[in-house]
């Protein structure tokens, strides 16, 4: 009888341990399953932006001497005064270059192909500025 009880103990506790582990494993699976189930899929609300066409920068001047640099005023309130001061200072510090302030036509949203053509033909560089 004692021997039988011992045998039972040898089997019983490991069996109980195995059962407990089984219950624990089932609980883990249920929890994991519940967590997985709680995830949902939503659609992206964003529209489609156009592809970007890279524009290589224009070559830079190797010297300012003898060059005409356009300073373009796009027309925002008080920009002109700011650019006049810029023109004066640049002319003082770099007198061998010719610094010109020019107004773009229309509002600051408008294109000015005539001015761009003039700058391409006569200018070495362009600075465009907004005084906000």
């Amino acid at each position: 009888m004692m021997e039988a009880l011992s045998m039972d103990k040898r089997i019983k506790w490991p069996l109980i341990g195995l059962c407990l582990m089984g219950v624990f494993a089932v609980n883990l699976t249920v929890s994991a399953f519940a967590a997985e189930e709680a995830k949902i899929t939503a659609l992206n609300p964003l529209g489609q932006p156009p592809p970007i066409a890279l524009v290589p920068m224009a070559p830079r001047l190797d010297t300012l001497d003898g060059k005409t640099i356009y300073i373009v005023d796009i027309g925002f309130t008080d920009t002109h005064q700011f650019l006049e001061e810029m023109q004066k200072l640049l002319a003082e510090r770099y007198p061998k270059a010719n610094w010109i302030v020019k107004n773009k036509i229309g509002t600051y949203f408008e294109d000015d192909p005539k001015l761009w053509a003039e700058i391409k033909a006569k200018g070495g560089a362009m600075i465009m500025a907004i005084g906000h």
């Binding site: 949902i40 659609l43 640099i69």
Partner: protein, 424 residues
């Protein structure tokens, strides 16, 4: 500093990610020439380098290999987001700037499919393009994308044709300007009754799902369908505008228009039986505290004279006010509009001297010869002139629940209309 992000992202989108730029302290507007000089002799507040040195280096320093690059950058947008819990998705949407700060209805495939039942148009049909303002890049969007944003707003499928019509205008409700624009949407025609929009008591307030969610959907579309509403990049409104939450979304109360007064959409050439959305741009609303001791129309120019002449005037008249105006001899909206145009005046000195938008957007065109502005520019300073540039700038709506004789107005100018029926 606040413009650095805008300049960088804008240059990037224009294909010039390496554009060379220099900053001076802000603002320039309103500063004396001596201050401008001081800024220019000082340092760039972002880089710390001398401003003039930076300017000269920008035009003389040789290009790097990166600056010489050509080619295309595609920017594909995934249709589905990575699966996650609802709470995490709410956070994700908010942190990405895809909401108006309020919780949204998550746009699951099931909900979007349900919304798509509100239209006969296919999910992959391109509705149009939209851009935060004209210098910014236009983005395109499909019926499905509009449905996603409509679900987010909490709209029902029966509202979807109205929301599609709004999307089809290509007009964003969020505009980039530092001036903090607002927009307005007005619904006309049978659809407003079919989807039970509120045109009575509280029509302009938060009392109805259709009014609330259609207006909200426009805000969400303006953030998501065109890359708008990104603070510092595509939204620069210095103070913002509280009207952006709902965009003054309402339906005109057509059943209480006095005889002879046409619904707004009919004034714009649509048939009475057509359903239409109309969109407007402006900034603000006022409530006119008018006296009943005098004729109503006589008091109106006073209340409208606080509006900038750059935009227009939209009047929201309770039906009782409209009835009163009939008694004062205005048996059509057009007669009232003409009277208001003729009698809401300013002086040439005020018009050309006192308004930021007139100086920046009208004066250059006046100098180019555009009329009537070119002629108005020649007027002496004390010469009276109409406050609003033309009759189309004044719009009249009847809306409200007849609990009292009140009216409101906004500095809103008409932009465009679109058919709702087309999107059913």
């Amino acid at each position: 500093m606040m413009f650095q992000e805008l300049v960088k992202t804008y240059a990037y989108k224009k294909g010039m990610p390496n554009e060379r730029f220099t900053f001076v302290p802000h603002p320039i507007t309103g500063q004396a020439a001596s201050v401008c000089r001081k800024y220019l002799e000082g340092n760039d507040p972002i880089t710390g380098k001398p401003v003039l040195q930076e300017i000269v280096e920008a035009i003389t320093k040789p290009l790097t290999p990166e600056e010489k690059k050509m080619g295309f950058l595609a920017r594909p947008v995934e249709r589905l987001l990575k699966p996650d819990t609802p709470d995490n998705l709410q956070r994700f949407f908010t942190e990405n700037g895809w909401t108006d700060g309020l919780p949204i209805v998550l746009p699951t495939e099931e909900r979007v499919a349900e919304m798509l039942k509100g239209t006969s148009h296919k999910a992959d049909e391109v509705v149009g393009t939209m851009q935060p303002s004209s210098p910014h890049e236009p983005w395109s969007y499909t019926v499905e994308k509009v449905a996603v944003n409509a679900v987010m707003a909490g709209a029902k499928p029966e509202y979807f044709p109205v929301i599609l019509a709004l999307a089809s205008t290509g007009v964003p409700s969020l505009f980039t300007s530092t001036t903090s624009f607002a927009r307005m949407v007005v619904v006309n025609g049978p659809i407003s009754g079919q989807i039970k929009m509120n045109t009575g008591i509280g029509a302009l307030g938060p009392f109805n799902q259709a009014n609330a969610t259609i207006g909200r959907a426009w805000t969400l579309m303006s953030k998501n369908l065109d890359g708008g509403g990104k603070i510092g990049q595509t939204y620069m409104g210095s103070q913002g505008n509280n009207l952006n939450y709902n965009n003054v979304c309402f339906a005109e109360r057509e059943d209480r228009l006095p005889p002879g007064w046409k619904p707004f959409h009919v004034q714009k050439g649509f048939k009475p039986g057509e359903s239409v959305v109309s969109v407007f741009t402006g900034w603000s609303l006022i409530r006119a505290d008018t006296s009943l001791a005098q004729q109503l129309h006589v008091q109106m120019p006073f209340w409208l004279s606080g509006f900038t002449p750059y935009q227009g005037a939209s009047l929201f008249l309770d039906p009782l006010i409209a009835d009163q105006l009939i008694g004062e001899g205005f048996d059509t909206k057009e007669k009232l509009i003409q009277w208001l145009y003729d009698n809401t005046k300013t002086t040439a000195g005020d018009y050309w001297g006192n308004y930021f938008h007139i100086a920046n957007f009208v004066l250059p065109n006046a100098k180019k010869g555009d009329e009537p502005f070119a002629s108005w520019l020649k007027l002496p300073k004390d010469a009276p002139m109409p406050r609003f540039a033309d009759l189309d700038r004044i719009s009249i709506f009847v809306v409200g629940g007849e609990t009292n004789l009140f009216w409101q107005a906004g500095d809103f100018r008409y932009i465009a209309s679109a058919s709702v029926d087309k999107w059913k």
